[in-house]
Subunit: 130 residues, 2 copies
Amino acid sequence: MKLTHFNNVPLENVNAEGAENTKIRWLISDKDKAPNFALRMFELEPGGHTPYHTHNWEHESFILQGTGVLVTSEGEKKFQQWDVIYIDPNTYHQFKNTGDTLLRFLCAIPLKTKKTETKNPLGDRQVNNC
Amino acid sequence: MKLTHFNNVPLENVNAEGAENTKIRWLISDKDKAPNFALRMFELEPGGHTPYHTHNWEHESFILQGTGVLVTSEGEKKFQQWDVIYIDPNTYHQFKNTGDTLLRFLCAIPLKTKKTETKNPLGDRQVNNC
């Protein structure tokens, strides 16, 4: 069992190619013995973005604060605080902070999916991004 | 892919025995073709609570607004906005709104775990609760 404030969880740089001004907190992960999925918080400075990429696992996201756009192969869609975003496996996506304030969102991913099919046009193969 | 505001997702009563003044929104679920886990939002009125119970699957939770206590076999622990809560499988737990305002929190659960071991002292066997 774990009960802690989010800011007690280390804030780590996301160094994946294609990511800019993006940080991550692994709020709940296999380090907590979570058996099936991990809950992460992303923090993007204004102008920051995650890589535009695709992979064989899903994202379940919730916008905590700030505004931005979700980039997909069908174009850009704006999002705002307390929006819910589900991204199917094998779907190109990118989160961009288009506002003037910090963007924070949650992003949960499965832990058991064999992660084999990352396709990041910018060459990254890390899972430590969104 | 799904991008919507949380209040576009239906707010449903939680009728499980032991729950009081508790409602749920299934933000992302198997209805969205999510393959591994579901993301729900709970809304508890002041004084409201989920059942005190245990089951063989985990919870990964994040407090969005309001205050309350998490009841476990080791006693009560207070929580506040933007706290992170991980509850291991087979661990007794209950969420209580002890504040004067609406308590909203996210709670993710696995979809594939065979849900066989619910032990709710109040007799409920539904999964539609937290």
